[in-house]
């Protein structure tokens, strides 16, 4: 088993890397919102066929949003995505834009809240810049496409289950991403499994650990979709997050990411240090 001591981040990833679905939904009128900032800086890249490459330094800054609202007691609406993404190589100018946003409609299938099971359907809209050319700093004719979105409409379907464990909980999920096309070229579908375990050791402090593995239904067949649009990206990621609630409704979070190839190997993914900090607002009845 190869363990990557440095942290991982996908070129076109967004907040979904840190999301780990649970079986719970928000109560009617309740909400949870998070805004966090992350920075990627790396020279290590795994190509679409899994070859490890050293490249010029790639840098990505992101301001990510996650918002969940209880529309009904067993029905939540979730909106998530990068409000701002900035991409650059050390050799190029920087390009900026919004990322692709995802809209989950999540329904808790079971009335039992101790063993909740939920199903969500989530279209991901290509709201990001499908093309964003960063000019070389040294040669005007040279440029590289560093889009902030993949230019493609796709739909995630997720089934998640959870179990309350007193001061803690555990969740498991499986998800499938039906991908479509960009300029007539089809993407490979994706599927994920993952889990989360969380604790509330003292009243204002919440700690969780997550793992998520992603596979593709095949290798990317088109270079136009691979590096630039995240086709065929596979990985296993793990994160540890601490959330401290300093008032009844406000809190701050810090997240650390790492990974390995225990389950899914690395393909079409940048490897980097990843540490994010965020602010949270929550309303519970």
């Amino acid at each position: 088993m190869k363990i990557i001591s440095s942290l991982l981040f996908c070129f076109l990833s967004c907040l979904q890397l840190l999301l780990c679905q649970s079986g719970w939904t928000k109560g009617k009128g309740e909400h949870f919102a998070k805004l966090d900032f992350s920075r990627l800086s790396t020279t290590e890249y795994y190509s679409p066929n899994g070859a490890k490459l050293k490249t010029n330094r790639f840098i990505q800054n992101s301001l990510n949003f996650y918002g969940e609202y209880g529309f009904r007691d067993r029905l939540s609406i979730i909106v998530s995505g990068p409000l701002w993404r900035q991409n650059a190589f050390e050799t190029t100018e920087r390009v900026n834009g919004i990322g692709d946003f995802r809209f989950d409609l999540k329904y808790r299938l079971t009335k039992n809240t101790k063993w909740p099971i939920a199903l969500s359907i989530a279209p991901e809209i290509p709201t990001g810049r499908a093309n964003a050319f960063a000019q070389s700093k040294t040669a005007a004719q040279e440029r590289i496409n560093l889009p902030t979105g993949d230019g493609e409409f796709n739909i995630w379907t997720t089934l998640a289950a959870s179990k309350s464990l007193g001061i803690g909980y555990v969740s498991l999920f499986g998800a499938y991403n039906f991908r479509t096309k960009y300029k007539g070229l089809p993407f490979e579908d994706l599927y994920q499994i993952g889990g989360e375990i969380g604790f509330n050791p003292i009243k204002p402090l919440f700690i969780n650990g997550k793992i998520r593995s992603q596979w593709a239904t095949g290798e990317s067949k088109y270079p136009e979709l691979g590096f630039v649009r995240g086709d065929g990206t596979t990985y296993t990621l793990m994160s540890a997050e601490a959330f401290y609630r300093f008032t009844k409704r406000w809190g701050i979070s810090a997240t650390y990411l790492t990974g390995n190839d225990l389950l899914a190997s690395f393909r079409n993914i940048y490897i980097s240090s990843f540490f994010s900090v965020g602010i949270i607002h929550e309303f519970k009845k």
């Binding site: 918002g67 409000l83 005007a140 004719q141 040279e142 270079p223």
Partner: protein, 147 residues
């Protein structure tokens, strides 16, 4: 829940590359235009690299005025998903940019097919690799060893 306003950027791009030209790098104006007929001195086939494709034939040629060029034949193809690629004639399959005598920058291109890159003089015998290079990322897409 408070209404959350999203702001969307309107995306308008003007491509910097001149679509009608296959060569984007015009800083070789001091070299006279080669004649259309030439003899092939060395030739080689491209192989892809880093998970990206590169196919076709590269040649070192000389014309009737003793002008040397690197030619990519009509069967040349690679990927321009990142925007464009930079072609080099290099001593090694991966150019050593710290040593100026070990490579020649040919041109920045964004289309497949035939290309001809005129050279100022006969290249050193050690320069035997025609390299397809993604300059911003510093990644090789392929190369052909010409013999």
């Amino acid at each position: 829940m408070k209404q959350i306003g999203f702001f969307l950027y309107i995306l308008l791009f003007a491509h910097c590359a001149k679509e009608q030209n296959t060569t984007l790098d015009d800083d070789m104006g001091s070299i006279p235009t080669p004649t259309s007929s030439y003899s092939v001195l060395k030739s080689g086939k491209f192989n892809g690299a880093s998970g990206y494709p590169a196919n076709g034939t590269a040649q070192l040629v000389k014309d009737s005025t003793n002008m040397y060029s690197i030619v990519l034949e009509q069967d040349f193809s690679t990927t321009y998903a990142t925007g464009s690629v930079t072609m080099y004639l290099s001593k090694t399959p991966i150019p050593t940019f710290e040593e100026a005598t070990t490579f020649i920058k040919l041109a920045v291109i964004n289309k497949n097919g035939f290309h001809r890159f005129a050279l100022a003089s006969r290249p050193a015998d050690q320069l035997v690799n025609v390299v397809v290079w993604c300059q911003p990322a510093g990644v090789k897409f392929g190369h052909a060893e010409i013999k």
